[in-house]
Symmetry: C2
Subunit: 498 residues, 2 copies
């Protein structure tokens, strides 16, 4: 009815309004009906948003268009950001084991513990290890001699300066990212090195436990109710060099999460997605798939499924590894997949087909799916089978897939209501924290000027809906979330100091 009137003599205001309304309804959350209280809260929120966007247009300083390392300070001054911090965000579904906790504690606490050793690789990267008796063995290839940190600090003139340099080694944050990271290969190399550096600290058994507990705490404080963690389950070690297996790690994750949930009744807990490096030989990948199946039997409550990690652009597409990845199906075993796929700008490569292959291999969600909008068939399958993408805006920007986040391909997917959730990938490594920074980028940048409380509500509801939790647990999570949401909306509507 609306389209036909386009051919009439006069375009009518009401027809135009109907088309615009239709478009608004297609946007994520566009069909939600807000309560009176929510409408009121929305007005407050949009007043803040509109003022900040008007200001950004005037100053040409718009955080979502800027590199996050430069935008961060501006974001922290934003009133909208402070609202988003208070907002209950449901679940964080795309996170990696050692990127969830701000690195301060690692430097100021962990590296001060007894028996902490440090060595330098020829390329200037750091490796840590706790050991007693010393020195830790084996010595990493090409590394300098092990240096006992306590002794080393004792000799330093300026320990603060040294500690700050350690902090810098644990994140990608720099003043001038374009200069420091001239291309994707360079930043990915540095990114993976940071994981190696962090690993030496966090794989030490006492730290491992505490890191995870503090990570949960950080997300809890950012008003997240539940998380799913991609974990490599690498051997955790004791002071005497003894190492633990995957089961031990998974069991520890489970214990810590359950304890945390018990201590915080408004937090649901965490589940683990066992993640293996895609660059490994297909035989090893097959072994890791087998291991995943065993773990899933043994830890049904905590073990959510399997994923492959590492830079996709380096090759090793899902289809090349299918021999390993179809093992569960051939064995009639249900191993949910949560594949990273389409984290690339290289449309048309074998890697770029990962978005399609992830779907063919029956993935439960698509990690990133940055390339999905360029794959109409995969996009339709994802839509029809309700397989969401996990959008991590800051990660995509820092890892150089896109600069101005308004051009993030999720923008067009959002505008047509494609299934998706928002997550933060490795917030601590990007200098972010929890989910709020990524929600800010989505709300202010990717979703457009008009996007309001509806999209925020739907995205948080999505995070529960698309989680790997059982129907029961989803219901519990939603109840917890709803209570918090109502309070959040009430406080916002009443203009309570957020």
């Amino acid at each position: 009815m609306v389209i036909s009137s386009l051919c009439l003599a006069l375009p009518l205001d009401k027809d135009r309004k109907a088309l615009i309304r239709k478009e608004e309804m297609l946007q994520i959350g566009g069909k939600l009906l807000l309560t009176k209280q929510e409408e009121l809260a929305n007005e407050k929120l949009m007043a803040l948003k509109n003022a900040e966007i008007a200001q950004a247009m005037k100053t040409s300083q718009f955080p979502p268009s800027m590199h996050f390392f430069r935008a961060k300070k501006l974001i922290e001054e934003s009133k909208v950001f402070h609202v988003l911090k208070k907002m209950p965000k449901g679940a964080a579904l795309h996170l990696h084991d050692f990127g969830i906790l701000s690195v301060d504690w690692l430097v100021r606490n962990v590296t001060y513990r007894p028996h902490c050793y440090l060595c330098f690789t020829p390329r200037g990267n750091l490796q840590f290890k706790f050991a007693d008796p010393a020195p830790p063995t084996p010595k990493p290839e090409d590394c300098s001699e092990w240096i006992l940190l306590k002794k080393y600090r004792g000799q330093l003139q300026n320990v603060t300066e040294f500690d700050n340099s350690l902090l810098k080694n644990l994140t990608l944050v720099v003043d001038n990212p374009e200069l420091a990271y001239s291309d994707q290969a360079i930043i990915w190399a540095r990114f993976e090195n940071i994981f190696i550096t962090v690993a030496g600290l966090v794989h030490y058994a006492p730290v491992f436990r505490e890191y995870f507990a503090r990570g949960l705490q950080e997300f809890y404080e950012d008003n997240v109710q539940y998380l799913e963690l991609r974990a490599t389950l690498f051997p955790v070690y004791e002071l005497n060099g003894k190492t633990h297996d995957k089961e031990w790690s998974l069991k520890t994750y489970q214990e810590v999460a359950q304890k945390f949930a018990k201590d915080h009744p408004d937090f649901i807990g965490a589940r683990i997605i066992y993640s293996y490096h895609r660059r490994k030989n297909v035989t090893y990948i097959a072994e890791s798939v087998q291991a995943a199946m065993k773990l899933r039997v043994k830890f049904p409550e905590t073990m959510a499924g399997f994923d492959l990690v590492g830079q996709e652009d380096k090759g090793h597409s899902l289809w090349e590894l299918k021999e390993a990845l179809i093992l569960p199906t051939t064995q009639g075993f249900d191993l949910p997949y949560f594949f990273h796929a389409g984290e690339t700008d290289w449309q048309g490569t074998s890697i770029d087909e990962n978005v399609l292959d992830a779907l063919i291999l029956n993935t439960t969600r698509i990690g990133h799916g940055f390339a999905l909008s360029r794959h109409p068939v995969a996009k339709n399958i994802s839509l029809n089978r309700d397989i969401p993408i996990e959008v991590c805006p800051i990660s995509n920007q820092v890892l150089q897939l896109v600069s101005d986040l308004r051009n993030h391909p999720a923008a067009s997917l959002m505008s047509s209501g494609h299934p998706m959730v928002i997550s933060s990938d490795d917030p601590s490594i990007f200098g972010a924290k929890g989910l709020s920074y990524d929600f800010y980028e989505v709300f202010m940048g990717i979703a457009g000027v008009k996007a309001d409380l509806r999209i925020l509500k739907q995205l948080t509801l999505n995070s529960i809906k698309y989680s790997s939790l059982s129907a029961d647990k989803k219901q519990t999570t939603k109840e917890i979330w709803q209570k918090k949401w109502d309070k959040f909306v009430h406080d916002l509507a009443e203009g309570k100091k957020l």
Copy 2:
């Protein structure tokens, strides 16, 4: 049939291939069947493309990801680019009057003509004017005194240096664009100033004629068969200060184009889209629409329709101006519109609705339509009514809508076969020439690694199909193009030195 097998125990290679094939068919040109000769040519072309992309992946120097000012030299070294230069490209449908001819001739020839005066604005911009008797009147506001260029050059130590500085004033090209143009407002101001500077030279009647003829020549040499020019039809002046009206300008365009077509039987000519500045008062815009209708009656062969120009982000949406824009419809007059719409990153503003409003106002094509992919309803109308967008990649990059062209929103539209043509907007001002540079960006960057001769063929066919030419003329153009295409394909297939 294909989707269902996804649920079978084993994903099958042939099902996957069918899905990939389906996706390839959806891409622009995906359904074209190539002749044997074309298949052969395609193999040659793809060998060049694949080698260049492999090289780019190795060096991390990929022109479509780089700013055009830096990429230009690399593009000119590309073998693919040299093929694209030889390719008959059909029509260039989105161009502006004084951005079509490399600026060299303006400086090295035009400014050396007698009676050429120069003045400087307080902001350091240049204005030119020819006049006899001197000095030219009126003097532009705030400008320095008029300086006779001949006299001025006589006093200079280094005329070459001065001429080079003039060249720089006629394009946006700089070594470090990110530094020189810190935001969109700044580059748009500079962009519009260049038009003012160029205007003083090209609105001089003898130059006007010759500029257009040489512009046609430059596109002809770039293997373009026809063009449509957005022209402001500002008063052209004579040496004695007498000015001509719009009719005179349009008549001159017509004469020059017809003469050029007569002298070059393999060139079809040009049509004019009268373009008025969107920032003007709606009363003036109404007058310009009336003027457009009159011109269309008087010059049916040359006058194609009407458009509004100027930075959209500054406001003045189509809907705000609808009172003027619905005049033809209310008068039962057929005035085709070719609206610029959606040349913005600001999703959700009133300006962002221009893509929808252009369609409601019955536009024939959408200029840029950069925002279209974020408007599912407008996108569907554009698709169903077969209204193409005019994609100008280099313009969008230089004017800071997108940095890495692989993230250009046309990528997803291309992959689903959305109607579109490729054009170059103001190549001379961006340091480009003809259409080849923009075709390079599309073929290598936006369309993805797998895109082949099919997409090129379809895009050139599109340019004829979506032109404003009559059915007859389209047929003639296509015949001319086909002959050239066959020769191009033959030479490429036979490995003839291109």
